[in-house]
């Protein structure tokens, strides 16, 4: 593996190096390495069961790898607990929703803002700040509503807002566009781009190929737990190994068309 410097000399903000995870005798991830730089959107794609969510779990600390390490801004954080990593700036959303169903939308976000008191000494007004984040994500209208009663797409945006409220340095998005309609999806794409302009590093797992191809600067392709390709959207699209991986399972999305909603 290379050091903390990537090919073009920019420093990686987050690196997963040689991550291996075994479930019993089964390798969910084998020696998988990805990296994200500040201000960059990186896509992680691959057929279902390729190990994408497992890699997210390893990065944010929900699962300890059998081998490999996670490095944030040059510091090895593999041994840190989930909440320590969160305090260091790793935030994520979940493929299967993990909202706080018994709290209102604004309180979901407020919990995150209030936690920041622990490590962020800047003055803050949690309620106002939470409302501002909801506004930014575009769901200020449902601030007072119970998240348990919200449609899946809106709840997904609550999760996004909650992750943003931690003021992350790295944002992991697990299928951010699933459950969203077309206009919501393009709003999220715009939001992610503007976040990157502010210097955030974003790693996202997504099945909607047009979304991935539009938004990502680099893409990693994961198949059977191994990284089989890495590169720009154009390179990945024509990579024979990638096409082989998708052929017969999810060939259609590679043509650049949206999946059926």
């Amino acid at each position: 593996m290379t050091g903390t410097m990537t090919g073009d000399g920019r420093r990686a903000r987050l690196e997963a190096r040689g991550v291996t995870v075994r479930f019993g005798g089964l390798a969910a991830l084998s020696d998988a390495s990805v990296d994200v730089r500040a201000g960059e959107v990186v896509g992680l794609i691959g057929p279902n069961g390729a190990g994408k969510t497992t890699l997210f779990d390893v990065i944010c600390g929900l699962r300890a790898p059998d081998a490999g390490s996670v490095v944030l801004e040059g510091a090895d954080i593999t041994g840190r607990s989930v909440h320590r990593r969160a305090r260091l700036g790793i935030a994520r959303t979940f493929q299967k929703l993990e909202v706080f169903g018994n709290l209102s939308a604004v309180d979901n976000v407020r919990v995150a803002v209030e936690m920041r008191r622990r490590w962020d000494r800047s003055p803050m007004r949690p309620l106002a700040e939470a409302a501002a984040v909801l506004e930014r994500v575009g769901i200020a209208a449902v601030a007072g509503e119970a998240v348990a009663g919200l449609p899946t797409g809106t709840a997904r945006l609550v999760e996004l807002a909650r992750a943003l409220a931690t003021n992350p340095r790295v944002l992991l998005l697990d299928e951010p566009s699933s459950g969203l309609d077309d206009s919501e999806t393009s709003e999220v794409a715009g939001l992610v781009r503007s976040l990157c302009d502010d210097g955030l590093a974003v790693l996202l797992v997504e099945h909607d190929m047009s979304f991935v191809m539009d938004i990502c600067e680099r893409i990693f392709v994961l198949d059977f737990g191994r990284i089989i390709a890495e590169g720009s959207p154009q390179d990945v699209r024509v990579d024979p190994a990638v096409q082989a991986a998708y052929l017969g399972t999810e060939a259609a999305p590679m043509n650049g068309h949206r999946q059926a909603p």
Partner: protein, 754 residues
């Protein structure tokens, strides 16, 4: 293999691992488990050596220990395997297993002894007909509805069932006469092997357990039904797609579970006493055996059960403990349960999706102003009641005051569970253990001086005990935590409160002087005390209302809804859990001190696990996340006592157990809790609740029959029109499906992993 050879193999393995995994490697779990186990073994040897009774170690004594221990263990095994079968196939852990067994043992007594039926007939009727039918009935009426409820409610409903069965048995067979079930072939039926006497009953017990083990093994791994049972656990819907009938499987599991409970109950009855509490608790001990099998493995469950039985006999025969630890053999299952809990691997934070919770509405949070108004109203009510201005003639008598005090004290202890269980989702059946600790501390420190500081100290010093209870809680989730809390409560009951230094059973008279606060003297049964308690309760309710709206309240609820997501926001889940356990213990300890002041004299019976269960249940019935539910619980606790006293019918004799049990079982129909429902009904009458009035108006409008003209119809909508519309809609649904859910579902079918 020579030591050297095995060493070489070990080195080779280590080199392999090092080559395979170049970077850091986690400590393998078995090391920690081995350390704990060997530590415990050393501890057990030390304890045994220190309390050796001097019984000669002869073939007769050891053989007797093994025979009696195995037969006792066999009974645990039968009961525990019933638990395991039901848990693995339906996902419901049946806390009522012991009580069900107790109930069928009583039925057997009724037929065999009271009505004089021949043993084989009575046995066949109970074990093969009545018990399975009862199990199927339970499944149909209650258990099926549990499937989609949150775990807390699942646990509470089966605990409710346990308490209800105890109440039913105590009502049906009242405790005013001794009952005994003779062993099979009588007391004298025995034979001797190498100097060890074996009764036929014990031999039969061991053989029955062996036969059951064999039958279950065959059923689960050979029979079609058993394969279906195991498939249903993995995925109910997938098994259904492949032709397994989930409902039949569930009913079968309950029938088997109930039947096995009956066998265990009938076998244990002659060895123990036919007393409701005793039988229920004996069969509860089977929990520890099931825990050894991690609730899933039948062989390990049997091993755990036999170890338990022999271990208990070892203690009884060869060890002798001081009075305070005289219950050691009874406490062994509790200790074993704790050991298993310590050895369990750390529960991982997992993203699990929130589908189970999504069905529930969020309740509107009470604000501090509303709570203050409500609390003030309560105080006025109590003031008027104790002053005799309300039309309940005996209300202000000393009996009435005492009941009022009981109500308030119970409500205060219940409040301790609101943040713990209601908000943070940590199930605890041990509030009375904490209350007992608080009462003892209060008695020791300032009980005889009447200083109010003792109350504060009782709360402050009980808090660390809460941290102790939090130790298993930070490692465990859900069911295992509930079991740990039961073991905790039972452990305190059997080993802590029994110490003479803690509660001296020979000390009579009042241990508490009247409380003196600012020149007022409050005796534990006086009007002033009741009013003071009302103020304290009100202050605590309002404090909790404010706490729920604070960042700690939000954090606890967030942690309950998703520990994984909470951790990814930077919340330290361990610290947050410890905090809520400490708060809860302090509140319960405070309530316990107030209870001590009321009763005057402490004794072991007041803080038993079984006494505490109705308290937990009534709070949950009210709605465990609402402070006001504690008042509901307190009122109901006293109401059952009042009803029982007022109408002196014999069938009411066990009402204070039966009532909460049945209420908790019925709760399955209304999981939100009684107080939430009542609150919803009354909110629109509060002047400041315009939102509730609007919601009510909307509800009324939605239920109103529309006028024909309103819908643009020229004539009333008839039943025939309804049929036609429904048909059209179903066709439309069929047409719409492929483009929507069907397509989405097809997309997300997982590719099998390599």
């Amino acid at each position: 293999m020579s030591p050297n050879a095995s060493d070489a193999v070990g080195r080779a393995e280590r080199r392999d691992t090092a080559a395979d995994v170049p970077r850091r490697r986690r400590t393998p779990v078995p090391v920690r488990q081995a350390v704990v186990l060997s530590g415990l073994a050393v501890g057990a040897v030390v304890v045994s050596a220190a309390s050796w009774a001097g019984t000669p170690v002869t073939v007769g004594n050891v053989g007797g220990m093994v025979v009696v221990g195995l037969s006792l263990g066999a009974i645990y095994a039968v009961s525990a395997s019933g638990l395991v079968v039901v848990y693995t196939t339906t996902g419901v852990f049946n806390f009522a297993q012991g009580a069900v067994g107790m109930y069928w043992a009583f039925v057997y007594w009724e037929l065999r002894v009271n009505r004089g039926w021949p043993a084989p007939v009575a046995l066949a009727l109970v074990v093969l007909v009545l018990a399975p039918l009862g199990g199927v009935l339970l499944d149909r009426a209650v258990m099926r509805r549990l499937r989609n409820l949150p775990l807390v409610l699942q646990l509470m409903v089966t605990v409710g069932l346990m308490v209800a069965f105890m109440g039913i048995a105590a009502t049906q067979w009242q405790g005013d006469r001794g009952r005994t079930v003779l062993p099979f072939f009588g007391h004298t039926g025995s034979f001797e092997v190498i100097g060890v006497t074996v009764t036929w009953h014990r031999l039969i017990t061991i053989l029955v357990a062996a036969a059951i083990a064999l039958l279950l093994r065959l059923l689960l791994f050979r029979a079609r039904l058993g394969v279906a049972m195991r498939a249903v656990v993995d995925s109910r819907s997938l098994a259904a797609l492949n032709g397994a009938n989930g409902e039949a499987v569930s009913a079968t599991a309950w029938a088997i579970g109930s039947s096995l409970a009956a066998v265990a109950g009938i076998l244990i009855a002659p060895e123990s006493q036919l007393v409701v509490d005793v039988l229920t608790l004996v069969v509860i001990d089977a929990f520890a055996a099931a825990a050894v099998g991690r609730m899933r493995s039948l062989p390990w469950t049997f091993a755990g059960a036999l170890l338990l039985g022999v271990g208990q006999q070892f203690i009884r025969r060869f060890l002798s403990f001081d009075d305070g630890f005289a219950n050691m053999h009874e406490a062994l299952p509790t200790i074993l349960l704790f050991v298993v809990v310590i050895l369990l691997p750390q529960a991982q934070l997992r993203a699990r999706g929130v589908s189970a919770q999504l069905a529930r509405r969020t309740l509107r949070l009470t604000d501090v102003k509303e709570s203050t108004v409500g609390v003030a109203a309560l105080f006025m009510l109590v003031l008027a009641w104790t002053g005799g201005t309300l039309p309940f003639t005996d209300a202000w008598s000393s009996v009435g005051i005492n009941r009022g005090v009981t109500m308030m004290v119970t409500a205060i202890i219940m409040l301790s569970l609101v943040p713990l269980t209601g908000w943070a989702g940590q199930v605890s059946f041990a509030p009375l253990a904490f209350a007992g600790v608080g009462a003892v501390i209060f008695a020791k420190i300032t009980g005889d001086t009447g200083s109010a500081y003792g109350l504060v100290l009782a709360a402050a010093l009980t808090a660390p005990v809460g941290a102790l209870m939090a130790l298993p809680a930070v490692r465990l989730q859900g069911l295992y935590l509930a079991l740990a809390s039961m073991a905790f409560a039972r452990g305190f009951e059997l080993l802590f409160f029994t110490q003479t230094a803690v509660i001296d059973p020979n000390r009579g008279g009042r241990q508490f002087a009247p409380l003196s606060i600012g020149g007022w003297e409050l005796t534990g049964t006086g009007r002033g005390y009741l009013l003071a308690l009302t103020v304290v309760f009100g202050a605590m309710v309002t404090g909790l209302v404010a706490l729920r709206r604070s960042r700690w309240g939000r954090r606890w609820v967030a942690m309950k809804d998703s520990e994984a997501a909470a951790a990814t926001l930077g919340i330290n889940v361990i610290e947050t859990k410890v905090a809520v356990f400490v708060l809860s213990a302090a509140m319960a300890g405070f309530g316990g001190a107030l209870f001590g002041l009321q009763v005057g004299t402490l004794n072991v019976l007041q803080f038993e696990l079984l006494v505490g269960l109705p308290i937990v249940l009534l709070l949950v019935v009210g709605g465990v996340s609402l402070p006001a539910a504690a008042l509901f619980g307190g009122v109901n606790t006293v109401l059952f006592i009042v009803i029982k006293d007022r109408w002196d019918y014999s069938w009411l004799s066990a009402l204070e157990v039966l009532g909460p049990g049945i209420m908790a079982v019925v709760m399955v129909l209304n999981p939100a809790g009684a107080v939430a429902e009542i609150g919803r009904g009354f909110a629109r009458f509060l002047p400041w609740r315009a939102d509730a009035r609007a919601a009510y108006a909307a509800e009324v409008a939605a239920n109103r029959e529309p006028e024909p003209g309103e819908l643009g119809l020229s004539r009333p909508f008839t039943a025939a029109d309804m049929v036609a519309t429904e048909r059209a809609l179903s066709v439309a649904n069929e047409l719409a499906r492929p483009g929507h859910d069907g397509a989405a579902a097809a997309m997300t079918v997982e590719r099998p992993a390599p």
